[in-house]
């Protein structure tokens, strides 16, 4: 479910990024308060754990394998807030270092896999498990069902995000600029894959691991109590935040669709009428230097003028840099770098 860069518009990424950032602020407040000083080691190692369980290949009936996200499991053992942070950090490391999921798309991936998945899974787990014994069968069933529903709702969210792209972002001739599949294709495609394959895998992993922990070390299942009790009490306080998110995200997702790229040459011309004048001068100045750039047409169109202007600035910066390098070469010669790699003699 890791969405790579290129499928979502920057506007969508931005909106979901802001939404995820709001949740992240809430999560760090929450965990810092309930976990106190143990916060950093517990969450760091929890995140490393989250990263690694995403690497387990789980055998599936057709003989191949699939990966689980483990979001439901983390929510059950660490509580939803700590799970959010752990998965987020695992996703950041995957995106930065291993190219799994995009960097701009990180906000969207965090929103789906670190927010929706564990929170939904946790809610359902609590609902079904109720006040049953820690070692009751009902608990691991609840965890499995939570994982199943959680990952499917996360997939639904991903499907909607992807499906909105062709509706909102396309060129004048109808060329889709990002993901080309509309809601009617993206949502069923994502949902089907998760209802049939990824969902059962997530459910089996969550349920079996919880059952295993019940058998071998039930005290680990109680860890959550220290992190989740207060979260539980404060559900009400979170309602406004939830409402805000519910309102903001669709508005953010839909609103910028019409304009952004198109806001107009007209508006800018009107507002910044004097800038093109300056640009014109610059363009004239650089014209003899850069004949190959085809600046002859400048002056007719704001964007074309801007091209000339920025190209000129780049040449300027490079020239200044070259001069600086030359000055440094011939000026101060004794500027030696010292690295930390000097090898000390061993005893």
């Amino acid at each position: 479910m890791h969405i790579p860069d290129g499928y979502l518009s920057p506007q969508t990424c931005g909106t979901l990024g802001v939404a995820s950032a709001i949740v992240a602020a809430g999560a760090s407040y929450k965990t810092a308060k309930t976990l106190k000083a143990k916060y950093i080691p517990l969450l760091s190692i929890g995140s490393a754990f989250a990263f690694l369980i995403m690497m387990f290949n789980v055998p599936i009936p057709d003989g191949t394998t699939a990966h689980a996200v483990g979001g439901g499991l983390l929510a059950v053992v660490l509580g939803p807030w700590a799970a959010f942070i752990s998965i987020t950090i695992a996703l950041v490391i995957q995106a930065l270092f291993f190219g799994d999921g995009g960097i701009l798309a990180l906000g969207a991936n965090v929103f789906n896999m670190a927010f929706i998945l564990p929170f939904v899974a946790y809610g359902i787990y609590r609902l079904i498990a109720g006040r049953s014994q820690l070692t009751a069968k009902r608990r691991w069933l609840a965890a499995g069902i939570g994982g199943y529903v959680g990952i499917n709702l996360a997939a639904l969210a991903a499907g909607i995000e992807l499906g909105l792209q062709p509706l909102l972002f396309h060129a004048a001739d109808g060329t889709p600029l990002y993901n080309p599949y509309g809601l009617s294709v993206a949502v069923p495609a994502m949902s089907l894959a998760h209802l049939l394959v990824a969902g059962p895998v997530e459910a089996v992993v969550t349920g079996l691991v919880v059952a295993y922990l019940q058998k071998t070390s039930p005290q680990l299942l109680e860890l959550r109590n220290s992190t989740a009790n207060t979260a539980n009490l404060n559900w009400r306080k979170l309602i406004p935040v939830g409402v805000l998110l519910v309102l903001l995200v669709p508005v953010g997702l839909l609103a910028p669709g019409t304009a952004w790229g198109e806001w107009g040459t007209e508006a800018i011309k009107a507002k910044l009428g004097y800038v093109p004048m300056g640009m014109q001068k610059f363009a004239d100045l650089w014209k003899p230097l850069m004949p190959g750039y085809g600046i002859s047409g400048l002056g007719q169109n704001f964007w074309q003028q801007a091209v000339g202007y920025i190209a000129a600035a780049i040449v300027g910066v490079i020239l200044i840099l070259l001069i600086a390098v030359v000055v440094r070469r011939f000026g101060a010669k004794g500027d030696k770098k010292h690295g930390p790699s000097d090898v000390a003699p061993r005893k």
Binding site: P41, S44, P340, S341, D342, V343, A344, R346, K347
Partner: protein
């Protein structure tokens, strides 16, 4: 006579009250002593080190360090906490748990930074410590690319970087090759000559004679079985057998003699 650094008075500790890990221990440790704590696996050596370093708190009895009682309340006081952490360095048995930073350099800088040294001094301190232990070439390495011996050196470096008065080591020779073991023993000997107080928990009898001027032995009931000079205790074969530290057929070298199994 000089004031002891650590005073343990009827000190007991256990996670559950019916399973004590340290039982009614009375112990005084003086400055510049080099003490080795011997005992079989699970006899409470590590627990004792964690109690002395204020990482665990007693269930019963009292423990004081530098004249102040070691309890949760006192260690939460910022000034005492900082002073105590600076004076008492702890080299953990598991280097992986001790090395939590992204690079060796950051690791060694962690202690000095937490204790409030300014960045310039920290830089100098880190470089000197790395050079002292001969690991300057590892500075930019991430800990996962270190061998077991290198990890131990880095772990010791990060403790030495704050110049502690007391050094606690938990099974320091575990998993080290003979060359690194030798290096470690020599380092401990020089630190001892420099006037540090060193408390080492181990079951490696081969290093005791060189690094200890006092030996404390625990039995499997988590009680103090003996406290004395290494020469006396290590030659008392029956005592070592009683506390299950050695096997009937174990043999080791000490004081130029070989301690052999009696005839079977």
């Amino acid at each position: 006579m000089e004031q002891p650094i650590f005073v343990l008075d009827q000190a007991s500790f256990g996670y559950q009250s019916d399973q004590p890990l340290v039982q009614e221990l009375n112990l005084l440790i003086y400055p510049r002593e080099s003490v080795v704590i011997l005992g079989a696996n699970g006899s409470g050596k590590s627990t004792l080190l964690k109690l002395i370093s204020g990482l665990l708190y007693l269930s019963r009895g009292r423990i004081a360090a530098f004249g102040t009682e070691l309890n949760e309340k006192n260690l939460q006081m910022e000034d005492f906490n900082r002073a105590f952490r600076q004076k008492v360095g702890f080299v953990f048995q598991n280097s992986d748990a001790q090395l939590f930073s992204a690079t060796v350099w950051d690791e060694v800088a962690f202690g000095p930074l937490q204790l409030g040294l300014n960045p310039e001094d920290v830089k100098l301190r880190v470089e000197e410590t790395l050079a002292l232990l001969g690991i300057a070439n590892l500075a930019t390495r991430p800990p996962y690319r270190l061998s077991g011996g290198e990890k131990k050196k880095v772990a010791i470096a990060c403790v030495l970087a704050v110049n502690p008065e007391v050094l606690l080591l938990d099974e320091p020779t575990n998993g080290l090759d003979p060359r690194t073991q030798r290096w470690l023993v020599e380092l401990l000997v020089s630190l001892r000559q420099a006037g540090k107080t060193i408390i080492t928990a181990t079951h490696d009898l081969s290093i005791v004679e060189e690094i200890a001027d006092r030996v404390i032995i625990f039995n499997e009931a988590h009680q103090l079985a003996a406290d004395g000079k290494p020469q006396e205790l290590l030659l008392n074969r029956q005592l070592l057998l009683d506390v299950n530290l050695i096997h009937e057929r174990s043999h080791f070298h000490i004081l130029g003699q070989t301690s052999h199994a009696k005839h079977l």
